[in-house]
Structures are given as structure tokens and as C-alpha cells.
Symmetry: C2
Subunit: 398 residues, 2 copies
DNA sequence: CTGTTAGCGCTTTCAC
DNA sequence: GTGAAAGCGCTAACAG
């Protein structure tokens, strides 16, 4: 048998109950209320606290302060409190101060759900990335958050794990949370964009980066993959390589196509014949690299250089090639793309193309806010192209 | 002068206005409404679209379907629709089907803000991590999301960038979003825990992992740092090393203390004297490593092995030591802690202690849900300790 | 099984 | 400058 007190609406009532367990009870479990109180739906969650003395203790309550509380305390109306809290200038200076002081004192926290419900504003943007195992996407996110927090916006992050269904689910979550803008880099599986087109239909701004959907008429942030690839391959050529293989990414990613084009352009410029045999289609699944590399070396005329679609691939290639006892860069030179953390650490260190990763995030976020503020037309398919840099290391020159 | 049509509530009305610019206008700017429409607060945002023919075009509207729409359409009450949508069994099968079908057809999406407002449930948990540049925290997050999504919960992710103020701000965001539980690994700067104690006060479950606050009486998930460190050092000893240095982490992180204790215990077991001179305090700032290593080698009697507090530190140490022309592992053997991605790739590959990273996330999430469901007492400071594994590579044996 | 009703906490007219 | 009142979209108690 436990004695306890409970605050209903305004007044403390006393109850006496047999409660088998010391825990939080739901209103349903406390059938006593049905007999005692008109409004069974009490506005406070509560704990039953055992007391020796019937009158001795107040209960632990969890009650978020609301504008109503403040209004009541100050004998003013909810509206006035709301005005103060939303920065409406039409408020008496004294009242304003009093409200602010009391809000502080009562640790008032605005209920964002209530606010969102009425204003239809959420001050939230979303970002969906395919993974964050490599340092690329995390850095982008940091860039996005920098800009977003300056704008007073929160960022919800979701990662799709390179899985299309997860991406769709994430998009739903973003929708449900009514993000005001969405920054996306799609998975390598994504060919259907309905889940993103839904945002366009609702006029929620979208910005793509890195893995973009070319068919959607929205702003995009990319690096100059073509130029990066061109310079990577050019570097291989000028260091004396004649037969340059390419591990090419999946065709549905425009990033793969642009890098492939850069590769082809460099060959063309230096009048090196293109050999389809050493342009290897590759699905970005790292465990395939071993077979593909072995395949390359089984050719009658194996390559003397390799341009890999990205760093993880190049790094895996280096491991494989080293284990085959082939010398890098003498027998085969290798170039990657993105300048991952690891690239400078492995042996030999990897020549690669670095991209301004954080800047990518910042640029994407900038675009989103310009779209949110209607500073640019949502249908203008602006493409911001950031520049890359060739980092020469020991996988191409001793 | 622009002609346009606008849908108010149910019917299309026609208006004619001079709008200086082609953009979205707020209701305030369109003073015409005051004269024309009873409810100036239209439930639709709208665009003014220029049309040649007055009647030619419908406007782009954004209107989220609500249960009211469904109810009206089906000539039933909101409550019934709500019952269907919340899975209340007391609904006629036919009605249920009709509602579901219409919801589908109208692309109905529940407004979570409205629901949260009334139910005081958000189906959301939060996770705050210090960074996600290394693969550790991202993997933990994947583990957390696995469990959370199975429980039908969303996860809000925040990263504090190893910055105390950001962590506090993140905690505020979590509070504002009314997460039902919070998983935290604090920054290396965090010494004040008020922002987290606030959650305890509101009875929102907290679980710590990795970087824990020992003083807070809440569940924690850690790996057996003591044992891991012990085995790392033991391995150095049995491979013949006699003078083992330790780059120790900051004292305020219990993780540092536990690893240090493991180190000391191993020395004790093998009767190797402890020399404070080679136990180097280090603040986890990677750029300090160089100086500290040089300092070690300037000693009269430099160490022949190094146990670094974590992998990034060990990896940096390897770079520095290699550049000094000192041989690893002959002159100095090195062990790290965590088995980061890079560890297996660098030259020489790093001997290290691996932790079940994803499992850590899953365990933490499990605990959170047990707490949310009151299956365990929130004040029971359960500590789940997961086991580690010694991964022997070439930085300790040739 | 269903409709009526009240209300979550907030913003925003409108009238004074 | 301020208060009253309506309503955002939803759930839940209650009465049939």
C-alpha cells in the first residue's frame, strides 16, 4: 500500500493505492481516477512515490513549462507571451523583460512540434548520403552543418548504406519530418528517382552532390571529374606510361561517365589508341578488384598504368598488385581519385586527385538556402563545379 | 497585371492582381484576400502563375492530405479514420479497407508533429558522437540504426566535432526534438555534464558508450579496455620487448585510465619496472605526436616498444618513426588500439586491438529500448563490457 | 463499431 | 500594446 499525492490541474490531491511496483503507471492502470477525477487525462505524467508521512512529500513531476504557465504566472495572455518569444516588436518593454526572465527561470523550452504544426516551418534540412565509412561523406556533412547552423537550421542526417530501399525509406523520414530542403547523394543502385521527385512535386528544394541524378532539373554540386580524370591520366602519360587501364564505375552514375570521358580525352590528346580491353567495367564492390586486376595482368599485353575510379579501389589494387610481386610504379603506376585519408599512408603512397570535400557540403547547403529563400529558381539546374587538384605521390613516381 | 486562379478550401476562385514579381507571395502581401475571403489564413501555399487565358491554368498547390480529407470523402468521422491509421481493432473491416485505399490513393502522410503533440511520443532516439572522421563512430551509428529501425524508431544523429559547446547545443536539439532516449559518447573536452544530467532529470534514458561519464548513474557500453591494453602490452613483452612506452590519453576520459591500467598490469605481471618517463601524457591531438616521439628517442634510454592509446596515434607514430629512419619492429615495435580501417593497409601494418564496433552500437540501442520500455531500472548503472581481440601484424613481428 | 468532444502547445488574426 | 478566439492535424475518452 502506497500513499501519495498527485497534482491534478491546479491542486494537490491525496490518494491511497495499492501499487504492486515502484514504476511509472499509465492512467489506465490507475483505475482510481475514473472514480475520482473528471478528466482522467491528467496533464502531468507522474510517479508514485512512497512516503512515510502522508503529507510529507511532493511528487516528482515532469511538466514542460508552456507559454500558458508563463502567461498565468504573469497575469497576461498567451498571445503576449508568444509575441515576446517570437520576437514580435509590439510588446511593452517591461512585459517583454518579465516574460523573458520567467521563461529563463522556469527553463522554458519551446515545443517545436506545436510550432511546426501551426507555422508549417520546421527549420530543418535533411541530408542523405550512401555511406559514411570513408571520410568523404562525413566531411561533406560537416560542411553542410556549418552553413545550416549559421542559418539557424538543424540538419537531419541519414545514410542509406548503399541500399536503394533504405534510401527510399530515408526519403520518407525526411518527408515526414517536413524538411525544408534536401541534400542528396544517391546510392550506386539508385536508378529510380520517384522518391526524390516527390520532393520536387511538393516544391521542397533538392540539391544533389557527388552522385547526382542528371535527369532531375535541380541544382547540383560536383567536382570537375572530367578535368580531374584528364589530369590524372595526363600525369601518367607524361611520366612515360603508354598503356593505361581504367577501372570504370557503373554507367548509371554520371560521375563514372565523366571520369571515363576525362580518361578518354587525355588519351586522345596524346594520340594514345583507346583499347576497350583495358577499360574494365566495375560495380564499386571492393572485393571484385582482385579478380579484375588479375584479369588485366593475364592479357597478352598488360597495362603499365592504372587509373582507378576512386581511392578505395586504387588502394585495394595496390594491395593486390603488391601481393602478386609486381612493382609499383615501375611495372605499373596507379592513380586514384578523391585523396582519402589512407592514400598518403599506404606503401607506396597513392597519387590521386583531391577534392574540396567540406566546400562541397557548404556549397550544397548554400544552394539549399538560396532555394528555400527563393533567391534562385528551383527549376534552374545550376551545376556548381568545384575544382580538383592532382596530388603526386609514389604510386606513380619514385 | 497577372491573372490567376486560386483554390480556397474546396473551390477554384479567380483573381486578378498586379504582382510586381514572379515569386511566392505571403498572405500578407496579397491584401486582396482581406476583401474577398473570409478566412485570410488559406490552408494552401500558392504560386501566382501568369496565364494568357484567364481560365487556362490551374495553379500548383501543395496540400498534404489529412485525416479530415479522408473522413469527408468517405462520409465518416475523423476518429474512425484515426482508428484505422493507428491500428485500433475496433473498426469495421469494410471501413478499414476503404480508408486504407483512399489514404493510399491520396498519398496520405501522417503529420508526425500533430501526433507527437498529442501523444507525447516521438518514436525518435538520438545519438551524439564526438566525430565521424574515423570509421569507429559511423559503424556504431549503423549498429544503433539497425536496432532502432527494427523497433520502428528514427535516429537523430549529431556530431560535436570534439567541441564541448557543440555538444551542449546538440543536446539542446535532442531535447527540443523530444528524443525518447539518448546515446552519447562525449568529446575529449567534456568535463561538465549538466547538459546530459538535464535528460536524467526529465527521465529521458541515457546510455553512454566509449567515452563515458563515470559519475553519472546510467547504463554504459564499453569494451574491455583494460584487458585489451593488457594483452597488447603482454604481446610486446612476449615478443621480447623490455622497455615499453605508452602514449596515454587525457585523464578525464575513463577509457584512457583503463588502458593505462591494463598497460601497468601487464608490466607488473612480467616484473618489468614502471618508468614514468616513458608514460607520455597526450591530449589526442594528432599533430603533437611528432614532438612526443622525438622526445622519447632523445631519452638516454629510449624505448624498444610503444603502446599508443589509439590507432590514429599509432599510425602517426609509425610515419614519424619511419621518417626518422628507425626500423619497425626491430628497433621499436608499435601497438595501437581499435583496428581502424587504415591499420591493415599501412606499411608496416599495425598490430592493434580490435573492438566489435557495430555490436557496441547495437548493445547501446538495446539498452536504450530496455530503458524506454522500463524493462530495466534507469538508475541501475549497468556496464556492458564487450570483449576485444588482439590483431597481430607487422609493426610488432616481422 | 462509431461520432462527438476536448485538447496537445503554439501562432495569428481580429477587435479593442 | 493586448486579449479572445480560432485552428494547425491528430489522438483518445466517453457515450451511445
Amino acid at each position: 500500500m502506497i500513499f501519495f499525492q498527485l497534482k491534478l490541474r491546479k491542486t494537490w490531491e491525496r490518494f491511497q493505492l495499492h501499487l504492486p511496483q515502484f514504476k511509472t503507471y499509465s492512467i489506465k492502470e490507475l483505475s482510481i481516477f475514473k472514480n475520482t477525477v473528471k478528466f482522467a487525462k491528467v496533464e502531468l505524467a507522474f510517479f508514485a512515490v512512497p512516503t512515510d508521512n502522508f503529507y510529507s512529500k511532493k511528487l516528482t513531476m515532469r511538466h514542460q513549462t508552456t507559454i500558458k504557465d508563463i502567461a498565468k504566472e504573469l497575469h497576461i495572455s498567451k498571445s503576449t507571451v508568444s509575441r515576446v518569444l517570437t520576437g514580435n516588436p509590439n510588446v511593452n518593454e517591461e512585459t517583454r523583460k518579465a516574460v523573458l526572465a520567467l521563461a529563463q527561470k522556469l527553463d522554458y523550452q519551446k515545443n517545436i512540434f506545436a510550432r511546426n504544426l501551426v507555422t508549417h516551418k520546421t527549420n530543418t534540412i535533411g541530408i542523405i548520403v550512401p555511406e559514411f565509412m570513408s571520410s568523404y561523406f562525413p566531411k561533406v556533412i560537416i560542411g553542410v552543418q556549418n552553413i545550416a547552423s549559421k542559418a539557424g537550421y538543424n540538419t537531419i542526417i541519414a545514410q542509406s548504406n548503399e541500399n536503394y530501399e533504405t534510401e527510399v525509406a530515408n526519403a520518407k523520414v525526411m518527408m515526414a519530418n517536413q524538411v525544408e530542403g534536401l541534400i542528396v547523394s544517391v546510392t550506386k543502385e539508385t536508378n529510380n528517382f520517384d522518391h526524390l521527385i516527390a520532393f520536387q512535386r511538393k516544391e521542397i528544394p533538392i540539391v544533389f552532390f557527388n552522385r547526382i541524378c542528371e535527369d532531375m532539373h535541380v541544382p547540383k554540386v560536383v567536382v570537375d571529374d572530367y578535368d580531374g580524370a584528364f589530369r590524372a591520366v595526363e600525369h601518367l602519360i607524361v611520366t612515360g606510361k603508354k598503356r593505361i587501364a581504367h577501372l570504370a564505375g557503373p554507367d548509371n552514375l554520371s560521375i563514372s561517365r565523366r571520369r571515363l570521358n576525362g580518361y578518354l580525352a587525355a588519351l586522345r590528346k596524346y594520340k594514345i589508341p583507346v583499347d576497350e580491353e583495358i577499360i574494365i567495367p566495375y560495380d564499386l564492390k571492393i572485393d571484385k578488384v582482385k579478380t579484375l586486376i588479375q584479369q588485366l595482368f593475364n592479357l597478352k599485353c598488360p597495362p603499365d598504368a592504372l587509373f582507378a575510379i576512386n581511392d578505395p579501389t586504387a588502394i585495394e589494387a595496390i594491395q593486390v598488385i603488391k601481393s602478386m610481386g609486381i612493382k609499383i610504379p615501375e611495372d605499373i603506376a596507379i592513380v586514384g581519385f578523391s585523396n582519402d585519408e589512407v592514400s598518403g599512408l599506404i606503401e607506396p603512397s597513392l597519387t590521386t586527385i583531391s577534392q574540396p570535400v567540406q566546400k562541397i557540403g557548404e556549397t550544397a547547403a548554400d544552394l539549399i538556402f538560396k532555394l528555400i529563400n527563393k533567391e534562385i529558381n528551383p527549376n534552374s539546374a545550376i551545376i556548381k563545379t568545384l575544382t580538383t587538384e592532382l596530388i603526386i605521390r609514389h604510386s606513380t613516381v619514385r
